[in-house]
Amino acid sequence: MNNLTILVVDDDPVIRRLLEQRLAKENYSVLLANDGSEAEKILKGSHIDVVLTDLMMPGTISGMEVIDMAKNLNRNIEVILITAHSSIDTAVEAMKKGAVDYLEKPINFTELFLRLEKIATMRAILRSAEDLRQAMDVTETNASGTIQHLELTVRDLQQKIDTIESILRDDATDSDSRIGEALNILLN
């Protein structure tokens, strides 16, 4: 089920290379960016499932901004933040912005793979929920069309019955013309 496409954003070529190799070995598709603006280009041009970004990077776009960028482009992109220092505050800040998780350096790959697997599982569940929801929407639309049609038909028939009743009860008119009028309404 490792069919996630992962964008690694890190200014350190050694870490980029390491992540690329380890992730590829686990059958993930990997794209690389060495800073925020390169990440932006890739995010706009390709389908990405997960962004793995370093917090501290040179250039104008920080890891924090990469979160905003990814989330604004597509809410379904999950972002995992990599932090150099064990800074809980930064991590909490990142989660508030919509990051799904954070990892501390040095990266523990077992941990990383577990988190990615969780994301993949969650995606599969969401996809099947989405399929069910679509099926439900179609059923609901069809059913409501039928029910609404019946509801209005019942209303119209009731009105017809009421009219016919008042015609038939109208003593001022003779029976033959009452019946004629009633039949007229009925066959209309």
Binding site: M95, G98, V100, A129, S144, I147, Q148
Partner: protein
């Protein structure tokens, strides 16, 4: 949200009172808090509407206070008498009665008719029907939907 979108700046010229009820304390609490997870929010809300009326809160979205302040939420059992709730111009009772027995549904929609202003509107779920349940309403079509007007 719909009122705000339809009326825009005109909204301040109207006096709306909106009441939402549920039998569960938790649901009432959740509703007045106004937080929705990303799965709940994705049903029929455009990104634009979402950003206009909601604030991102971690992985969830929270209704902005300007909207939240328009609605009162209250715990209420629909099986109890409606006295004290007041009269309403529009009542939405969607996909609730489906869990009731036929007898209870009859009682419920009768009470709803009592609580509606003359010519007031009732909106029920799109797959619900009042046929054989309550004859105090006339169904009327508006575009692809149906609403019920009190006779």
């Amino acid at each position: 949200m719909t009122l705000d979108e339809l009326l825009g700046a005109q909204i301040k010229n109207f006096n709306f009172q909106l009441l939402g009820t549920d039998i569960s304390d938790n649901v009432v609490k959740q509703a007045s808090y106004g937080k929705y997870n990303k799965f709940e929010i994705e049903r029929g809300l455009s990104r634009q509407t979402l950003q206009k009326y909601f604030t991102l809160f971690g992985d969830s979205w929270k209704v902005k206070d300007q909207l939240r302040g328009m609605v009162n939420f209250r715990k209420f059992n629909l099986m109890h008498p409606f006295t004290g709730l007041g009269k309403f111009d529009i009542i939405f009772c969607r996909n609730v009665a489906i869990y009731f027995t036929l007898e209870d549904r009859k009682k419920l929609f009768n009470k709803i008719a009592d609580s509606l202003a003359d010519d007031g509107y009732l909106i029920i779920g799109s797959t619900e029907s009042l046929t054989g349940i309550c004859s105090r309403f006339v169904p009327k079509r508006h575009l692809r939907a149906i609403f019920y007007q009190k006779k």
